[in-house]
Amino acid sequence: MEILTIITPFLLVLSAIIIFLFLRSKRRISARVSVIATLVTFFLSLVMLGYYVVAGHSQVVHIGIHWGSIWLDPLSLIMWVFVSGISLLVHMYSVRYMVEEPNYTRFFALLDLMTAIILFMVSAADLVTLLVAWFLVGVVLYFLLGHDTNRPAAGRYAFWTQITYRAGDLPLWFAAFVLIKTYHSISLPVIFAQIQINPDLHAFWGLSIPELVGFLLAFAAFARSAQFLLHGWLPYTMDGPTPVSALMHAGIVNAGGFLFNRFAPVFEYAGGALHMAFIVGLVTAIIGSAMMLIQNDVKRSLGYSTMGQMGFMVMECGVGAFPLAIFHLIAHGFFKGSMFLSAGNVIGEARAHDGVPPDSIYTAIVERRPAKPSRLPWLAAAALTILVPVAVLSLSHFFVSSELLYEQGVIILLFFGWVTGAQALFATHKMTHTNPWRLMGGILESFVLVVIGYTLISHYFGSFLYPHGISQKLYAAASINAFVFDALVIFLAFLFVGGWALTFFADSSGWWDRVDKGRWRGAYLSMYALLSRELYVNDLYARLTRLLLVFSHRLNILLRWC
């Protein structure tokens, strides 16, 4: 099994080297070599995951003397299967999609190299291997995003990605040095074992070692997963080839969630860092989703959707639901990968059908649909909207594991599920339909299926990832004062219900239009302008960069370039 462990990531390194050195002019053969190598890697990953399920124990395999060790634990194995699976899809798609592009063979070699590096990154058992792989992901991604060198925009946005990644590397390096200097080891299992023995070692600024490292790791994760203020690069990665966008949005951008999970034993003692992650994730989710809604470009819209999803993922880590974040990143990876790879078809479809909203007279006469569809009675709709999600979510968690309902992190996720579920039902109620009960029934059925699926999968997935019960400790670490928490939940519940009620009555009675008289429209347009300029974050960075470059240039002139 040790041989297989070493072969799995190195197979793709080997195929990249073969393509680079010997198959540069042989387009078809290089694509075949690349796809076959990825297929074998995926198969080997599955075999090793299967072996773990049967044998049931983790192991560390050493390749080098000082560094270069691979940790075969549930997290690594799940990530190996996920990464090689996504990569296989991207490889197969690229065979025809990229066929008319120049540097076809180089593209496949880089794709192989990128997959191999990610495999090393997710399975690194020591800090040096992790730093090497983490660093190289940024470098190889730069060349993949800048595949088309004839387009200056591709180079510009590849550079944005590279510099944001480099900025995010620094806290990870700092965290690594803090751990190495404190525990005198680069081995992650050794460091985690020592943290369990003595978690209260003091660092500085009143922080313990796990707290300091937790904050630093969170910052590193924010840069990789495009959290607010470090997100500007993500929507612009669309300038790279579509398969790279798919790999980027389905796999690479999820590195933040992986980092939280890899260092879960540190975060057990870093509650402050988890609280920060929750706030940053929440802000990112809201801003990413808001920006997604105002885009008129399919791929840009998907880019901001990824930003919003990454916000949710980091938020899940912030409440202590680490396994859920991994489940989320896998589900989002496949979902977003398929969205990107089918974006071209969607654009083609949009060109064929103009998408003009239907006219009521046209639908009544030509399409023979009733002109006056009906809605549910408002009381029935309100009851369904508010009560059904609560009942479904609570019961599903209660039947799976009743003690989970006492964890603050689970309550937040339940609350979140309730708000989104209720919002979906509320929006459904606003839709007119010939058979509103059937429409609402369909939505409820989907909701129940999604919730039960999520509850079962996240619970059993959590037990698989963390068989020694770390999950409960992470929930405890993310908790705050019980009274403040309860007050906050009650306040937010009233706020949301009040908001829905206000919207409903304002809509149905026309009261808002009479009171507002168009004044709100100015504020609405200002908000739209602000979001369409991406809150001026990128402009601010561009201005700052220009100032620094001018200063650097003047220094060079002053010192005569010596």
């Binding site: 003397i65 000082h66 730069y142 200056p152 390096w173 370039w561």
Partner: protein, 254 residues
Amino acid sequence: MNTLIWIMAGTLLPWFPLSWIFNKLIASAPGFWAQALAILVFPQLGLLLLIHSGAWQALPVGPDPDLRVVALFTAVFYAFRAASTREVQVWARLMTTSGLALTWLLHGQNLDPLILQSVALSWSIPGALMLVWAGLLKQRMGGAYLGLTGGLATVLPRLSALVTLTALAASATPIFPNFFILLHVVKALPLLWIPGGLLVLLLWGWAVGRFLQDLLFGIYRGELLEDLTVGGTWLGGLVLGLFAVGGIFWGAHG
């Protein structure tokens, strides 16, 4: 006598402000081969002077705060200046100066002189290679300024590939030895000084990102250029490959 040794050593293994003389000396060497040779030899001479005069060994065990400030400042200052540089020769000199300054941070660790010389050589090799590539670019284009013509990846693919790999080596990209040396150097710093060391890494990333953007991207609109020969490319690639193998060896033996 001791002061004179320190001044000469600071010029050859540069720290600011003596690094200005180091750069001036290299820039004034006749031809790119002489410049490449100078950037390889000067730091070695500086180290030999320090070691054989006993000045290096005379430093107290443990880090000297003044020397640390000067070395870190030089590394940060030159990396910052490299970010706005589009002339390949100047970029190579500034980046090498920034890297070489970090060698001073290894004082007080009782390291073997051979290791110190290897460290200095690791910063010098990418600098020397880049000066050679800059000379070859100058022969073909009349200058090695990247601000005027972009898109060299299309017109000079082989030479651009070597320049790109050398730029990555100069900015401490794994698996080149500089990466592992940087790890060692930053690890040697006290905890509160580590952000200063990491700032160098960020500035190198910025400098190399801008450099590659100017080199590779855009549509080339100049005259047709003759690329490097296949043999020359293999030779350059072999040197860089051996340098990378050196990195793996260095990393493996910590």
